[in-house]
Amino acid sequence: MSEQKTYDVMLFKSVSYALKAEKILKAEKLPHKLIPVPKQISSDCGICLRFEHQHRLTIENTLFNKVKFEEIRQILPSAL
């Protein structure tokens, strides 16, 4: 993480939702990364989707009505 980018993470209730969301984003070629949920955020599911803040709206719209997610949180670069 050399460049200072602002990231958001999308949290899910279960791993399968996270994987489903990932498949959709992959198909749509939207940049994202599946990462373990940052330590300071608690979540039942241990993985989440991370993406640059600038893609948040596009990603939210793409997944709308397709995958249920819990919430989107902004994370600090140091939290990665």
Partner: protein
């Protein structure tokens, strides 16, 4: 207060504990503190430094440490506080405290999945593992990839970004050449150097710690 310090300046007991194995520095320091108001202990490793500092605190001393010779020598000055009771119980000594492991810290990825049972889950776990390793402070010295593990190092791999970050941080990444050849993906290698069994077996043999996800 000042007078007390000055009058004792000439009575510093020097304990040279360099070159001594744990727990000798602590034993000597304790003996010295029992009979002297002020003791300077000289040690040459982190474990001894931590142990002597802990001893000093436990014995109710003022503890001051100095690093000498570019970080290879530590001088710890223990000053008994006036009237401080001298504890009789033993001070635990940890001989491995932060002593560096004898050989390199090696991570071996023999598969592109973490754990067995479900491939989809295993793949997610492996990605999460490598991401976490790339972000944590204590990074491995060497990472070795063989058999299906080589797939993690290819250009199209989702783990490439994390492995590149590790490589940039100085982690040596060795990828089994036989395996790249077998899968016919040598031209798709995205990170690390093509290695052979001599290097792989050699590094694994002298590893201080070897971790397989």
């Amino acid at each position: 207060m000042m007078r007390y310090e000055v009058s004792n300046m000439s009575e510093i007991k020097i304990v040279n504990a360099t070159g001594l194995a744990c727990p000798q520095p602590v034993v000597l320091a304790r003996q010295a503190v029992e009979t002297n108001e002020k003791v300077k202990v000289i040690v040459d490793n982190d474990a001894a430094l931590e142990n002597v500092q802990r001893l000093g605190a436990k014995l109710g001393c003022e503890v001051a440490s100095e690093t000498k010779a570019g970080g290879s020598i530590f001088e710890i000055t223990l000053t008994r506080k006036a009237g401080a009771p001298f504890p009789t119980q033993d001070v635990p000594v940890s001989c491995e405290a932060s002593a560096p492991a004898a050989g390199p810290f090696v991570i071996v990825c023999a598969e592109d999945k973490m754990g067995r049972g479900n491939d989809e889950l295993g793949s997610v776990l492996m990605r999460a593992f490598l991401h976490t390793i790339s972000q944590q402070k204590e990074k491995p010295d060497v990472m070795i990839f063989y058999n299906m593990g080589v797939k993690l190092t290819l250009q199209e791999a989702e783990t490439l970004e994390d492995l590149k970050e590790l490589a940039a941080a100085g982690v040596e990444i060795l990828v089994c050449g036989t395996c790249l050849n077998y899968f016919e993906v040598k031209d798709k290698l995205g990170v690390g150097v093509v290695s052979n069994m001599y290097d792989i077996a050699g590094i694994m043999s002298k590893a201080g710690r070897l971790l397989t996800p």
